[in-house]
Amino acid sequence: MLAKYRYVLGDRTYRFVNLAQVMAKASPARAGDRLAGVIADSAEERAVAQHVLADVPLQTFLDEALIPYEADEVTRLILDDHDAAAFAPIRHLTVGGLRNWLLGDEATPARLAALRPGLTPEMVAAVSKLMRNQDLILVARKCRVTSAFRNTLGLPGRLATRLQPNHPTDEATGIAASVLDGLLYGNGDAVIGINPATDNLAQTLHLLQLLDEIIQRYEIPTQSCVLAHVSTTVEAIAKGAPVDLVFQSIGGTEATNRSFGVTLADLAEAREAALGLRRGSVGDNVMYFETGQGSSLSADAHHGLDQQTCEARAYAVARKFEPLLVNTVVGFIGPEYLFDGREIIRAGLEDHFCGKLLGLPMGCDVCYTNHAEADQNDMDNLLTLLGVAGCNYIMGIPGSDDVMLNYQTTSFHDALYLRRTLGLRPAPEFEQWLARLQIFEDVQGPRLPGAVPAAFARPLARLHESRGDG
């Protein structure tokens, strides 16, 4: 076969059959690409592929679709929505040139924002493969993406958390107990979001009601979400349920999304239904998406692409629907895709960078499973790096232990650590609420009071009386 991409190194000539192979072999090593058989055969081949990729003109990504236009609706979305005018300032560049441009002083937050519609996920994935971790952090920090529903997320110097009160049987008392714990540690501004143990309509209606009652009772400037399948949420809306956000897991190829039981049309329909409820007070971003490297390979829907490029393509799906929240559930998928702490940390930084550069309100589920070679120290490292990079939000869960999904993510305490060490504050509306209810006695610190704030002391006392131990 005639190799379009080749590189002569000494007396050896490296050949790559297509752009997808250059991208895959240029990727920093990870288990999923090895499993897919697309990984570089040697460290030298990887470095050579990076040289080749650096010389690819950005225009090539518009001319050579990695997955054919006819075969994949995500490709069609990417190419049909591409904005040539926004692309103009960088159209003369190669991938290597784009890295220099992004790092350069000319790439101000305003110019980066204007560039977004001109970038495709493949361009962004490509440049990330040439970047060191510090590059991914520095450029992401310049990308400011805000979104709003009942509060404003993503402002500079702010860090929000999703309060994740999961329970193995969706039992209301247990969920309320975790919600209380999280609120009293100042968590929950991004969303109070439950992964239901059972994904059916009755359970979803029940949980939506539970969360809505808490938000209304305490006038919390935040939003709720039950992370059921989009079709369940659409049914719940039709039943008149108090739906703030529509959740869906998405991937970067049409076939991946089919494996999740969803099409672009389904997502558009769900968004319209949620917008129709007009439940947001300061904004109308009503979608919540979760992604993660490896989902396409896991569904045998990766078309021979590396897993990080598939992941970046998922962000094209997300940005079409102007979400409030996107997060990469980076370490959940397991060691077949990201083997250890090193691979998880790299992937988390890549995903955050790619999402932000494409204009998404990126958060990260800084997490691992017990069969991955990772531990709390790895998560501390990724958490701190993402805090520096300006990540919009992280998860918050009691003591890092999700007793329903059986994995470890960041705790309520972890968010306070990041806020205190980096001076990061909650979303402004939520911050005012924390101060008003005296959950934080010093918001800047932050410092917490020893006693239970009055608004929550009453229900706790009632509960203790009913148990006869008040």
Binding site: P165, D181, F339, N370, Q376, V403, H413, P446, R447, P459
Partner: protein, 283 residues
């Protein structure tokens, strides 16, 4: 630094100054790690160490090898005809744990010696049911709960009739759920049940899963399986799991299928514990 020098001396407290959470009693309602208290804004030493121990146990569960000798002794002690045949020791093409964790495809295929062993063992008569015990992600779960479930299963199957011809029990090292498909096909079994260690959580390092497949052969999809999960202390009791499995096997044999079309209509276990107050934050 100069300003710090003017701070008054810190008060002397025995635990270094942990601020307890008055809502810690809510732990009665959830296994979630709520009300942990704080040292400043950080995790106090006691819950930190408790977490580290739980994580260590979960990690060990993943990396502990399947003790086939102990399982063989356990099986031999059962008061069922099954106990009279020694189990077959098999292994997959994932030669070690590191390979197993990164190559799910290899954990679904038997290695050549295992294939030869099965060819010698199955003899002329096809079996109705093959029981496959695989380490999965927690050999500890298999060691703790597989044989008690088999005990309850055999009792329930004998009571329900008609007879099930059982193949020798297979013990598989480095196995995934789908290994049952190849084992079942090679034993010409009409059904296979895989007993496998589930992904360990911090509070559940020894949770066992049971996967029933009618007409096993490589290429079966997960939609064609029935799963009974969370067999452990604090989860589904082994005796109840064995009975439920016997019910599903009976239905699978009657209808000659398994999976989404075969719903579990066995009586639900009664909810344990006293009634709970529900959403106490907004009663």
């Amino acid at each position: 630094m100069a300003e710090d020098a003017h701070d008054p001396p810190a008060a002397e407290v025995p635990d270094g100054g942990v601020i307890d959470n008055p809502w810690a009693s809510l732990r009665a309602y959830t296994d979630a790690r709520i009300g942990l208290g704080r040292a400043g804004i950080s995790l106090p030493t006691a819950p930190l160490l408790a977490f580290q121990l739980a994580h260590a146990q979960a990690k060990d569960a993943v990396h502990t090898a399947l003790d086939t000798e102990a399982l063989t002794r356990q099986l031999a002690g059962l008061a069922h005809p099954l106990a009279q045949t020694a189990p077959l020791l098999l292994a997959t093409q994932a030669g070690d744990r590191a390979t197993y964790l990164q190559r799910p495809d290899l954990g679904r295929r038997l290695d050549e010696p295992s294939r030869e062993r099965l060819a010698e063992a199955h003899g002329a008569a096809p079996a109705d049911l093959a029981l496959v015990l695989a380490d999965g992600l927690s050999a500890r779960a298999v060691a703790a709960w597989a044989v008690p479930v088999i005990d309850a299963l055999c009792t329930a199957l004998a009571a329900a009739g008609p007879d099930w011809r059982l193949a020798p029990v297979c013990l598989v090292r480095q196995g995934r759920v789908a290994i049952g498909d190849e084992v079942g096909e090679r034993l010409q079994a009409r059904a296979v049940v895989v007993f496998i260690g589930e992904r360990p959580g911090l509070s559940s390092p020894d949770s066992l899963g049971l996967y029933l497949t009618w007409a096993p052969r490589p290429g079966v999809t997960d939609a064609e399986r029935n799963c009974i999960s969370n067999v452990r202390r604090g989860g589904l009791a082994p005796a109840a799991a064995g009975r439920r499995l016997a019910y599903l096997l009976g239905e699978a044999r009657r209808r000659e299928l398994s999976g989404v079309q075969l719903k579990d209509r066995s009586a639900a276990d009664p909810d344990e514990g006293p009634p709970r107050p529900g959403n106490f934050l907004a009663p």
